[in-house]
């Protein structure tokens, strides 16, 4: 048996494969649900209800999708240039930390309409700073960035842990290791009242379209793809390799940092070491599900959020272990990468 690359892909396959993946993932989690003694079909119905059966669940799904879109974009832009940024989690935290530091005290005096954009930029910059270390190591010492950027995550979380227990610690938090809250007027406006949904969602969607445009239409987009696919060839063609990768890295780290900033300014208000339930890592999942297509990231993030929020709500209403939500998301990821593979390859004897 061997696999052969397809040069043409039929529309049926492109649509059918991801659909099949979802079906398989749901069937597999169905088995687990049944083992827990819950009615499977009812569980599926509850997943749908849990994900968008009410105003609450719909806004919650969108709220959860927001950071996933941004970290998904961060992974997608980097991976397209073959910059393996596995460090979005750390960049997310540094973005959040920077916003908490500047938004609570230093710049809190600025009026909201100025403060909010300034803080978003600061968050993005913080994310960029963190990714530049692995990038520098790659350009200077040709160190593979998969491992370095992964390791930076743990350093970043430890830095957060140190600061929220140190100079950034909120004296009013009763000894809890958490940062001071950003000023109220630094919080992002809500999209829907009495919900957690904020304009970060709109920011993420707009950014996805901008990035799609940049990648497909601009010189930078073409050059970054060339740099990713064949660095040596790109250099020969005059693509400024370091500069291009630098820009890609800044974009990627910036998006991840922005995700952290937006999560703080849109939802939490302050930073703790459990701010992210793995948004950085899930971003990689999202980017892969989207086949690295920026617009696809919007849908992949929505899909991931629906699966998680839906399954989480289902577990609550059926009284089966909450961990089923993560299991379902993980199964969806695994079946989806396999499905994407079969849209690109066919099996031959």
């Amino acid at each position: 048996m061997r696999f052969e690359r397809r040069e043409q892909r039929s529309l049926l396959l492109l649509v059918g494969a991801p659909f099949a993946a979802i079906v398989v993932a749901l069937a597999l989690s169905g088995i687990l649900i049944a083992i827990a003694g819950a009615p499977v079909l009812e569980a599926y119905r509850r997943i749908l209800i849990g994900a968008f059966g009410s105003r609450l669940s719909a806004t919650e799904t969108l709220t959860r999708a927001t950071p996933l879109m941004l970290t998904g974009l961060a992974a997608a832009v980097a991976f397209r240039a073959r910059l393996w940024n596995i460090g979005a989690e750390g960049q997310f935290y540094l973005g959040a930390l920077a916003v908490a530091a500047f938004g609570s005290q230093l710049l809190a005096g600025l009026p909201g309409p100025i403060l909010i954009p300034v803080l978003l930029v600061i968050g993005a910059l913080a994310g960029m700073v963190l990714i530049l270390i692995p990038l520098w190591l790659r350009l200077r010492f040709s160190v593979d960035e998969v491992v370095t950027s992964l390791l930076m995550n743990f350093i970043a979380v430890l830095i957060v842990s140190m600061l929220v227990d140190g100079i950034l610690k909120d004296p009013l938090a009763f000894g809890w290791p958490q940062s001071q809250s950003v000023a109220d007027h630094a919080m992002l406006p809500k999209l829907v009242s009495r919900s957690r949904l904020h304009i970060g969602l709109a920011i993420a969607v707009v950014l996805a379209f901008i990035i799609a445009f940049v990648q497909s239409r601009t010189v930078f987009g073409l050059q970054s793809r060339a740099a990713g696919l064949n660095p040596q060839g790109a250099v020969f063609a005059g693509v400024p390799l370091s500069r291009t990768l630098f820009k890609v890295a800044c974009l990627s780290g910036g998006l991840a940092g922005l995700a952290g900033a937006i999560e703080v300014m849109g939802v939490r208000g302050y930073v703790t070491t459990d701010l992210s339930p793995g948004f950085g890592y899930s971003g990689i999942v999202v980017a892969m599900l989207a086949n690295l297509n920026p617009v696809g990231v919007i849908f992949a993030a929505l899909f991931t959020a629906i699966m998680f929020v839906g399954a989480d709500g289902m577990s609550r209403s059926l009284g089966i272990p909450t961990y089923i939500a993560d299991v379902t998301v993980a199964l969806s990821l695994l079946t989806m990468v396999v499905a994407l593979f079969f849209t690109q390859y066919r099996v031959r004897r």
């Binding site: 609450l56 009763f174 000894g175 809890w176 939802v267 939490r268 459990d274 701010l275 609550r316 909450t322």
Partner: protein
């Protein structure tokens, strides 16, 4: 009356001692037919407000849980659901009419256990392993230390924090480190500490629940904390239509029957036990009050 619909939201898995206190009380109440109980565990900070909202929308009348990691957001949720009562473990204050708080004040028991430990130590060094230096944890450890010092002013007290609320192996390592530093009795604010004591054949004190059956030769005393009195008070308020926006902590005090000490008779000398029992009675009668020191213990 129909049982009250109550939801529990646990940030940690319900094995965590503190959550297990809540969980056990809630389960017992459900068994008594007083409430209908549903719960979620291991709910991260990001998901916590959603779980609160979901349970509120599902028609639960009372929501029990912990606001520690989401103090600000939890209050926002409560404001959005004025018809639901929220009674959450918190370091902060109550808010509005439907957001009540409670603390975990089992320091009375810790003080009493300290009195026993102070008399039992041979190396004159005792140790405490805590999670994170938040006021309640500090108060508890300080109370234990005060109990030790009350009967043995020369005793040395070591403190270590493991930086997280639930990591038994880490608590065990911290306990071993203290034994290496000479401690021969450990106060395990966190589960895992007693494992270190057991391994090295020394004694330990448990907190919140009764660890003695689990570590028969090791844990000789426990600073118990019961959630049922708090729960009952909250249920009563909700049933009576009274606002729950108040602080329920006091219901957990020894004086109110919320907390106590259990200890293995004969582990300490009978004089030590007698001295301790006297203070215990004084606390219950209100004649003695254990100092509440919330600063980080040194």
């Amino acid at each position: 009356a129909a049982p009250l619909k109550v939801a529990g939201i646990h940030a940690s898995p319900v094995e965590n001692a503190w959550n297990s206190c809540l969980h056990a009380a809630l389960q017992a109440a459900a068994k008594d037919g007083v409430i209908e109980y549903v719960f979620s565990e291991g709910v991260s900070g990001t998901d916590y407000p959603r779980a609160m909202r979901e349970y509120a929308e599902q028609g639960n009348k009372l929501i029990i849980g912990e606001a520690y990691a989401v103090e600000k957001e939890a209050r926002l949720v409560a404001a959005d659901y004025p018809d639901t009562a929220f009674v959450l473990g918190s370091s902060g204050n109550e808010e509005g009419s439907n957001f009540g708080v409670f603390g975990t004040w089992n320091h009375d028991g810790a003080y009493l256990a300290g009195m026993l430990a102070g008399k039992m130590t041979k190396s004159n060094i005792v140790g405490s392993v805590g999670a994170i230096p938040i006021p309640e944890v500090n108060m508890l450890i300080n109370a234990f230390a005060a109990g030790v010092k009350a009967v043995n002013p020369d005793a040395k007290h070591l403190v270590a924090f493991i930086g997280t609320f639930f990591d038994p192996p880490k608590a065990r390592e911290a306990g071993l480190a203290q034994i290496d530093s000479g401690a021969d009795i450990l106060f395990g604010e966190r589960i895992g500490t007693a494992d270190a004591a057991k391994e090295r054949g020394i004694k330990a004190v448990g907190s919140l629940i009764d660890y003695s059956p689990r570590y028969p030769e090791t844990v000789f005393a426990n600073a118990l904390w019961g959630f049922r009195p708090i729960l009952n008070a909250a249920i009563a308020d909700v049933a009576a239509g009274k606002p729950v926006g108040k602080n329920y902590t006091a219901f957990g005090l020894m004086k109110e029957g919320g907390s106590d000490i259990v200890y293995v008779k004969g582990a300490a000398s009978s004089e030590a036990e007698a001295a301790m029992e006297k203070v215990r009675a004084d606390i219950k009668s209100g004649a003695f009050e254990v100092p509440k020191t919330m600063d980080e213990p040194k």
